[in-house]
């Protein structure tokens, strides 16, 4: 019997390369004649380049060329140029110099003279919304849906709107850009037993993947060879071809390993175009080694929110009304976390009456992008401590109030009135509570030990966890091995290997007979989902399931055709296909593959299904005739959104004399359907939760308001969590109930733990403070100590980019 693979711990096949230093990330590639590019970054948050003089730099020995804004497309904002004529944030690349060494390139940058004309800038969205306030772009400060798609608008609130807020501790709420509602919130508040209302700020924070977005590129015979750091492979090739206005088949994209992206490198980066364009101009391979300093500016950030929330409760703890207003800091090129945030809030608390208003404002701060659980993680970490407040006023258990409000299978939510394929949030809460020991731990709440007070918290966090309709592509070779072609990326989630498991299982193959093909578009990659939004576990177990099912049929047909009988009489196991009545009446997979090549047609990929994507057709075309091909589109369909959940539970010790919070215990418990790879799942749950802890406790983006430039631009000032900032031991678990609408039953998990980790800590800190919600992240010792000492808070409730 072939081994059962789903649910087993199997180290990913690339791990040895990773631990011996042989794994090649983008900066590890070299090319003959390679030169180094260095960039000149904008020194101000908003400016117009009046004049560039590179003559002195170009005269330097070793300088090979310069790349100017005029050398690259200058799309209309909010599209982002590679090099900006009108930089809209400090740190935006303006030009680049290439030289034979990086040292010379850097020295040459210093010799460049750029005349910048400073333009008005804005960092705080509220400043831009004030009457007469500055706009981040000369075109406006928000994008709205107009008659011909989205358009710029100069969106301002009135003095009255601001006056109504009265103090800086209350969010002003003028005209929103997006609004949706269900039921009647005002009536529901009128009938509510308890109402909680807060102004609350969630800071913006940079992704800081360990590997900066370095790229190298060269051209050969009209083809572009690009090496970059990206979360997705197949989709990055398309994105790069599209950006350079090229036929995708003329691009060879190599992205074998990605040193983290977290949403900031979904289909590569804007910057990956630079070496490609530069290389074309100077006809030399160009390495753009992006430094941490540059990455901090250019590497994207999670958008911050300034929010206001009002929650109404029935006497039994049911949330009956939720009114939410979110002002999003959209950064230089915009963001849309505000939309998701409202949907996630509605899904998590299931109020009968809900109103969500928001405005996403462009600012002259580094560009934003999705960051693990975009919108969801922020809103959950903001709202969970407020739910706790309601529970306290009602005298309810905090776990019970979550179980009461969490969605049931008949859930409907959001402005589009969606349902879910499956939901076991209540089970995640109950089983997670059991595993954590909620009943025993909750009594520790407020316990004083010397100067330390214990706090206990919970966070329940959902996020989308799957998509449908991608292609699978497999090749059974004459040596009997199975090649699984993966167009998704390799950023450490192990999906390149784990989503191939269903294919091996369906074909009855042991895992050591499977080879994963990934990371190099010249090797034939099928149409794939982006490796983002927790999609791949769901999307590509399906796609590989479909392709393997196709391969199985073909194998059975070949066996029946060769050995007689009906295809359905043949069983696959141990690398062979044989008749169910007689094991010796069979063929090895190697023989089957050879027979497939002889037969040609659909068997070896010369004839392909009609419904697969053009990218898959191209990939399969290159493999035709090399073995038996399994290729299919995921047509399994499905009804409703695919969401996974994590319930996070934490214990903290808060030192009342220093404001320092020590996270001592953490349990994350997931509802993500069937567990494919337990150890990897645990890593996602705990790793995501730790990112959430950083979000809640320490990470920040600080700007000087007068000059408009960032200050916390080093790792130690931006403060992502280290190994001493998290509990020494953490635990995790999963409900493990399969999703009925997907053949393997598995859903993704990358996103939800971030909100769970952040919210559990925020909830625990509020608990340690006796239920006081500080309503701001990060919860740093200065803010906590000021609260404990009764000092004026260091920052107002609406202050952003501070710390």
């Amino acid at each position: 019997m072939a081994e059962k693979l789903i649910g087993k711990d199997i180290a990913p096949p690339d791990l040895v390369a990773k631990i011996t230093g042989r794994a090649k990330y983008a900066e590890d590639f070299r090319a003959e004649g390679m030169v180094f590019a260095k960039m000149l970054l904008s020194p101000m948050p908003h400016a117009r380049v009046r004049r560039i003089d590179t003559s002195r730099a170009e005269r330097m020995e070793g300088v090979v060329g310069v790349l100017l804004p005029d050398d690259v497309p200058q799309p209309e904002p909010p599209a982002e140029p590679v090099l900006a004529r009108e930089p809209v944030f400090e740190g935006q690349p303006v030009l680049a110099v290439a030289a034979v060494t990086e040292q010379i390139a850097a020295d040459a940058i210093e010799q460049v003279r750029v005349d910048f004309e400073p333009l008005p800038f804005v960092l705080d969205p509220l400043d831009s919304l004030r009457p007469g306030g500055p706009n981040a772009h000369v075109q406006g400060n928000v994008r709205v849906r107009g008659e011909d798609g989205t358009e710029w608008r100069d969106h301002k609130w009135t003095e009255t709107d601001f006056a109504a807020a009265a103090t800086a501790d209350r969010l002003p709420m003028g005209e929103p850009v997006v609004e949706w509602s269900r039921g009647d919130v005002d009536a529901a508040f009128a009938n509510a037993e308890v109402i909680v209302e807060e102004t609350i700020v969630h800071q913006s924070l940079t992704h800081h993947p360990m590997e900066p977005r370095t790229s190298m590129a060269y051209w050969q015979n009209g083809k572009l060879f690009a090496f970059t750091s990206t979360q997705s492979t197949a989709r990055t090739k398309g994105a790069l071809a599209n950006a350079l206005d090229m036929d995708p088949e003329d691009v060879v994209l190599v992205a074998e390993y990605c040193g983290g992206g977290f949403g900031s490198k979904i289909s590569g980066s804007t910057l990956m175009r630079l070496p490609a364009i530069f290389s074309r101009k100077i006809n030399r391979p160009v390495m753009l080694r992006v430094t941490r300093y540059e990455e901090t500016y250019i590497g994207r950030a999670r958008p911050g929110f300034q929010g206001w929330v009002k929650m109404g409760f029935r006497g039994d703890g049911k949330v009956t009304a939720l009114d939410l207003y979110l002002v999003e800091e959209g950064g230089a090129y915009g963001s849309g976390d505000n939309g998701t945030a409202g949907v996630v809030a509605d899904l998590t608390y299931q109020p009968d009456n809900v109103r969500v208003r928001s405005v996403s404002v462009f600012t002259n701060t580094p560009p934003k992008s999705a960051q693990r659980g975009p919108g969801g993680a922020q809103i959950i970490s903001m709202l969970e401590p407020i739910l706790d407040k309601g529970a306290r006023e009602l005298g309810m258990d905090r776990l019970e109030i979550r179980k009461l409000n969490a969605p049931r299978p008949d859930v409907r939510f959001g402005p589009r009135d969606m349902g879910l394929t499956s939901v076991h949030a209540v089970e995640a809460l109950a089983q997670g509570g059991e595993a954590f020991g909620w009943e025993e731990k909750k009594v520790l709440s407020g316990r004083r030990n010397g100067t330390k007070v214990t706090g206990v918290g919970i966070g329940l966090s959902p996020y989308t966890a799957g998509s449908r309709g991608y292609d699978g592509l497999l090749l059974l070779r004459p040596d009997g091995k199975l090649q699984v072609h993966q167009g998704i990326g390799n950023l450490g989630t192990h999906s390149i290997a784990d989503t191939a498991r269903p294919a091996a299982e369906i074909l009855g193959l042991d895992w050591d007979q499977v080879e994963i093909v990934w990371g190099d578009s010249s090797r034939g990659l099928p149409r794939s989902s982006v490796q983002a939004g927790s999609q791949t576990t769901h999307a590509h177990t399906r796609a590989n399931h479909a392709a393997a099912t196709d391969a199985r049929s073909k194998i059975q047909e070949i066996a029946a055709g060769t050995l007689g009988g009906a295809p359905g009489d043949y069983v696959l196991d141990g690398g062979r296909v044989f008749h169910r009545s007689n094991q010796s009446r069979g063929m090895s997979f190697g023989q089957v593959a050879e027979r497939a090549i002889e037969l040609g047609g659909t068997y070896d990929g010369h004839v392909l299904p009609e419904d697969i994507h053009a990218e898959t057709v191209a990939a399969a075309g290159g493999l035709a005739g090399q073995g038996l091909m399994g290729v299919a589109r995921d047509n399994y369909g499905g009804d409703g959104g695919v969401y996974s959940w994590v319930a996070g539970f934490a214990v903290v010790e808060l030192d009342v004399e220093t404001g320092i919070v020590d996270v001592t215990e953490y349990t994350g418990y997931a509802d993500c359907g069937t567990v494919v790879h337990p150890r990897s799942l645990g890593a996602q749950i705990l790793g995501g939760s730790i990112q959430g802890m950083g979000m809640a406790m320490s990470q920040r983006w600080v700007f000087d308001p007068k000059w408009g430039v960032p200050l916390a631009k080093r790792l130690y000032t931006a403060r992502p969590p280290g190994i001493l900032d998290v509990p020494l031991e953490m635990s995790w678990g999963a409900v493990g109930i399969p999703d009925p609408q997907t053949p393997v039953g598995a859903k993704g998990i990358g996103e939800p733990p971030v909100g769970a980790g952040a919210a559990a800590i925020a909830s625990a800190v509020a608990d340690a403070l006796g239920g006081r919600c500080l309503c701001r992240t990060p919860l740093t010792p200065d803010i906590i100590l000021a609260e404990l000492e009764g000092l004026e808070p260091p920052f107002s409730r609406t202050a952003t980019h501070v710390g």
Binding site: L15, I19, K24, Y257, L686, M730
Partner: protein, 211 residues
């Protein structure tokens, strides 16, 4: 000091003392622009200088003697990655903050990004590429432990963490989990795989004790 190209002796008062001098060629100059002035100020303003050729030195890396051209201002991480082809040592921050460039110098963990290559002449440098047994090709116990525990996610930090783990198990064969966390606190993992990394470290100590 046979590798020293220019050895200068101070003739007047310090004739018995020798020191090594390295010189490089590069230009630098100052100017200023409006708005917010940022650049060199004060005491150590840039000065243009003349220089001579690069210097050939010998380094002991992973047990091998390697001849290499090294600039005076060149860091060990750059030499390893760009001159010796040892790209396992990663540049995560280049500012001694993230630990991805951790290597061992005479068995002690250091940040290669913030060590001048000229400072390690005559000292034994070990990188992640030097851990496997040279004869058998077997993984180092620390690497084996990571494989056993399925450690790391994106793994860009892995070479650095592994070098810190080697330093840990060499110095402390039976660390507590807390001691291991302290020993690894100079390495950052943005995937947040700390729990599993600590499992790896504990397993590594166990395997190392058996060797």
């Amino acid at each position: 000091m046979d590798e020293v190209v220019v050895t200068r002796t101070l003739e007047r008062s310090v004739s018995r003392r020798t020191f090594i001098k390295g010189v490089i060629a590069a230009g630098a100059a100052t100017s200023s622009a409006g708005y917010l002035l940022r650049g060199s100020t004060g005491l150590f303003a840039a000065t243009a200088m003349q220089g001579t050729a690069e210097r050939l030195i010998t380094l002991n890396v992973n047990g091998q003697q390697r001849r290499v051209d090294v600039l005076p201002n060149e860091t060990l991480a750059m030499t390893l990655r760009y001159k010796l082809g040892l790209t396992g040592t990663k540049l995560g921050c280049d500012r001694a903050e993230c630990g991805a460039c951790t290597v061992l110098v005479d068995g002690v963990s250091q940040y290669a990004c913030s060590t001048l290559t000229h400072q390690v002449r005559g000292r034994a440098v070990t990188t992640v590429e030097g851990l496997e047994d040279r004869q058998s090709g077997a993984l180092h116990p620390v690497q084996q432990a990571v494989l056993d525990e399925g450690g790391f996610q994106c793994a860009f930090c892995a070479p650095g963490f592994i070098m810190s783990m080697v330093a840990l198990v060499d110095a402390n064969p039976a660390p507590t989990r807390e001691a291991a966390a302290h020993a690894l606190s100079g390495n950052l993992c943005r995937c947040g795989d700390y729990d599993k990394i600590l499992n790896c470290a504990m397993r590594a100590a166990e395997l190392a004790r058996r060797v």
